[in-house]
Amino acid sequence: MPTPPLTTPEERVALFQQLFSDTIPHNKALGIKVLAVARGLASMRLDWRRELVGNPETGVLAGGPITAMLDSCCGMAVATLLREPKPFATLDLRIDYAKPADPKKPVIAEAECYRITRSVAFTRAFAHQGDPKDPVAAAAGTFMLGTKGEVTRSQLVSQELNK
């Protein structure tokens, strides 16, 4: 389905917000906001919420929501580099929990897909709360390309970035 070219960064962010958060039930439930997107790069934000806390005494977020955002953010970075639309899935994901996230402050994820082959994409990501040099978590994710299933709209999206 041809779409009009996206000319501004705001339009791209709005499209990626729709494809990688609003239409993905779990990301929508976490309230993930797409902050920025470029070829091979993705950034997202997760706002603090009481339901996402692991320890109610400290208000520190559980690891799960950060893991889920880092997985999504790495996946979005992969989607920006697909030469041809194809389904893909996470193969493995390592998360290093560097330090507790400060309660009530948003967590920002920044992911890079640094290598993509016909079958595999390699990604790195960090999660921080304003200072990228002081991360709360780091991730390394590998994705398998050309997995089962039909091509989804989000896997077609790299074409939007070529315009």
Binding site: P25, P56, T67, A68
Partner: protein, 153 residues
């Protein structure tokens, strides 16, 4: 730290009701992740609900939620099956995604691979209908005795 969870743990041990552990963790409640001992073995179940979905076309459960429930399974295991006096602090976790997980409950079991004085390595495996066909597995490190400022539940 987490005196409330350790208090709950003592209560749960006295009443032999492991499900009380999840009640002290807001994220576990929100995700419908809870430990159970109905078969005699300690298992962790993530009850299916629509907001777990990551791919609406297949449909499949979001990989991040599988990582999250494997992490919770490892924590519940350490709390219940070892002589934990403090809440374990997670250092890192590596998740392998083995199969796509459909819109159904996910169950996980964990075991300690290596128990050190300060560090524990835990392996956890998740499945749906058939335990011999896992959907994901994980290995994770936890600090069990330390004043380090790592995330703790």
């Amino acid at each position: 730290m987490s005196t409330n969870l350790i208090k709950r743990l003592d209560e749960a041990r006295k009443k032999r009701d492991v499900s009380r552990l999840a009640e002290a963790i807001p994220y576990a409640k929100w995700m419908l992740i809870a430990p159970e001992t109905t078969t005699g073995e300690l298992l962790t179940r993530m009850r299916y609900h629509e907001t777990l979905i990551g791919n609406t076309h297949l449909p499949a459960i979001h990989g991040g939620t599988l990582g999250a429930m494997l992490e919770m399974a490892a924590i519940f295991h350490l709390l219940w099956e070892t002589d934990a006096q403090t809440v374990p602090k997670i250092v890192n976790i590596t998740v392998d995604y083995l199969r796509s997980a459909g819109p159904r409950d996910v169950i996980a079991a964990a075991k300690v691979t290596k128990q050190g004085r300060r560090m524990v390595n835990v392996f956890a495996e998740a499945w749906q209908d058939d335990r011999s066909k896992p959907v994901a597995s994980a290995s994770a490190h936890f600090l069990v005795q330390s004043d380090d400022t790592l995330p703790s539940l």
